[in-house]
């Protein structure tokens, strides 16, 4: 059990934590405003991975251009596959399109599966969410593939080749890890600033604290809710693309376990609290990696949920759960 092994596991944990944090934000944003767990969120994460794979194939797999016979793809692909600039643009396009498509789908789901039930008993939208989740999984299973799809071109080459970015002691840190951690931190910081500093962000916070009162201030509640249902799934989709690139494949049921873990992360941090979700995500990722590295891979879920139970026993509101006493 050397120090470098510890370091390696911690780095893996931080990478995993970045993914959890991105997904956890989606749960916590929606819960904060609607007091509802969006059980379809893990499927939006999964779809993000698929949309990303589709975009990558269309924009940078010559075999796809040949198979479809779409001649116009060739100049586009040669742009995205030439040099560093093309590569960066490819990544921007992949993450951007995946985030936007899944974000719009999130808004769509809210509009048609949750909004009609807004004044129904709380169990109803929850059941609706489970229905959406089952629907999305099966849609992918039936219309795309029931098997796991490799996150590569048809010839088997990876879209993003993992190289060593730098070494600490004897530990290699891959470019992919750096990419995931830096991107997730930047996105988390952006969201945090958006919510605390901008007018619309403040309206979101107001809505989550008192929906009716926010309406009386002139906030269009439906737009705020729609926005939360865009941002959350968009972040989830980005995590989904990362997940595909990092682990090398996508499958229709890939959202389930990360979804539960991210939800756990959101609860550990204090559900409804954005910074809590970030903290919970990284904490859970690190704990899990250390557990699988030092105990056994079989224990990673056990340890993750033990952490959840401990937090719920000693801080039921979560680590950053609101401590403000509200006078009546």
């Amino acid at each position: 059990m050397s120090l470098s092994y510890l370091l390696e596991q911690t780095l893996n944990g931080i990478t995993l934590g970045g993914l959890y944090a991105l997904v956890a934000l989606g749960y916590t944003l929606v819960y904060g405003i609607l007091l509802m767990i969006n059980f379809a969120h893990s499927e939006l994460f999964m779809l993000g991975g698929y949309v990303g794979l589709g975009v990558l194939k269309v924009l940078s797999d010559p075999a796809v251009a040949k198979a479809t016979g779409w001649g116009f793809l060739e100049p586009i692909q040669s742009f995205f596959m030439s040099g560093n600039f093309g590569f960066v643009m490819l990544l921007v396009a992949t993450f951007g399109i995946s985030a936007i498509v899944v974000g719009i789908l999130g808004m769509f789901i809210e509009r048609f599966a949750y909004r009609p039930l807004r004044h129904a008993p709380r169990l109803a939208p929850l059941i609706s969410a489970i229905g959406v989740s089952i629907f999305l999984q099966n849609a992918v299973l039936l219309w795309i593939d029931s098997k796991q799809l490799p996150y590569t071109r048809v010839d088997g080459s990876a879209f993003v080749t993992a190289k060593t970015a730098f070494t600490i002691g004897s530990v290699n840190v891959s470019t992919m890890q750096v990419f995931i951690v830096v991107t997730s931190l930047v996105l988390l910081a952006l969201l945090d600033t958006f919510v605390s500093k901008t007018r619309i962000g403040r309206a979101m916070r107001a809505t989550s604290q008192d929906r009716e009162a926010a309406g009386l201030m002139g906030v269009d509640i439906n737009r705020v809710i729609a926005l939360a249902f865009f941002i959350g799934p968009a972040l989830g989709a980005i995590a989904g693309v990362f997940n595909g690139m990092y682990y090398g494949s996508v499958k229709f049921n890939m959202g389930f376990i990360p979804g539960i873990k991210s939800f756990t992360a959101a609860v550990i941090g204090g559900i409804g609290n954005l910074r809590g979700a970030m903290l919970g995500g990284f904490l859970l990722g690190i704990v899990e990696s250390l557990a699988s590295g030092f105990l056994s891979n079989a224990y990673r879920d056990v340890v993750a949920f033990v952490v959840l139970i401990l937090v719920l026993i000693f801080r039921p509101g979560g680590l950053l759960g609101e401590a403000v006493a509200e006078k009546v």
């Binding site: 916070r205 107001a206 604290q209 009716e212 009386l216 906030v219 403000v324």
Partner: protein, 240 residues
């Protein structure tokens, strides 16, 4: 003759099957303080919530300066200048006093200078809020929260300010401050519709009053007149 700001014409509002308002008509003229008084469940708050768009009337119309506003969603009614300070304060507990006030001016994002002036005005009216401007709303006392809720309403630069039970649960000293402020705001030109259980206080400051009884109008008239009305004295002012 002054301008009519608000005219509520024969509204019926339901909670599910229950008819909470059975044809209420209320008029508020420019520069007035008008009060709605009545016992618990008479429909005072329901009337305000129907005007502000939190509830939609099944029948009847509500007009603001002659323009129909009934049926509009709450944020659009606010945008028209009808601002409700809700019952139980309903401030944003995890936002600072300043952020709460900024939320009050949510729709005035195109006039930052005027919004700043409004903040100064609120702090002049309630110096206590200035002292506590960086404190979270949830940590304030009940009286301070009521001041914040009213301040937040003023921040919207209302054409009609509707106050729902502003004195509820407050110490007599604070009630005094709140009512002084209502009079002061009115003298500065704000038209006010006031719902109160403290009928004596409300009728003293109001130009006109309406007495509600289980969803219908029982009486209406100038504030002073109602204050001396025997029926009102017996029923709402606790005189035997």
């Amino acid at each position: 003759m002054s301008n009519t700001v608000l005219s509520v014409e024969n509204i019926h509002t339901f909670y599910g099957q229950i008819e909470a308002l059975k044809g209420i008509s209320v008029r508020v003229d420019e520069g007035e303080i008008v009060t709605l008084i009545g016992a618990n469940g008479a429909g005072k708050s329901t009337t305000l919530n129907t005007i502000s768009g939190l509830l939609t009337p099944k029948k009847g119309t509500i007009k603001l300066f002659g323009e129909t506003i009934s049926g509009l969603p709450v944020h659009k009614v606010t945008a028209k200048g009808v601002v409700q300070v809700p019952e139980g304060r309903r401030i944003f507990p995890r936002m600072t006093v300043e952020e709460n006030l900024e939320m009050g001016a949510f729709l005035r994002n195109k006039e930052p200078a005027a919004v700043k002036e409004s903040v100064t005005r609120v702090f002049d009216l309630f110096p206590r809020l200035k002292e506590r401007r960086t404190q979270k709303g949830g940590t304030l006392s009940g009286g301070e929260q009521q001041m914040l809720a009213m301040g937040r309403g003023i921040m919207a630069s209302p054409k009609l300010l509707m106050l729902d039970e502003p004195s509820m649960g407050l110490a007599p000293v604070v009630v005094e401050i709140i009512f002084d402020t209502i009079v002061k705001l009115n003298q500065e030109g704000i038209t006010i519709l006031l719902v109160e259980q403290n009928a004596a206080m409300a009728l003293q400051v109001a130009n006109r009053g309406y007495v509600l009884e289980v969803g219908t109008l029982a009486l209406e008239g100038p504030g002073k007149e109602l204050l001396h009305n025997e029926q009102v004295r017996k029923t709402y002012l606790g005189e035997v």
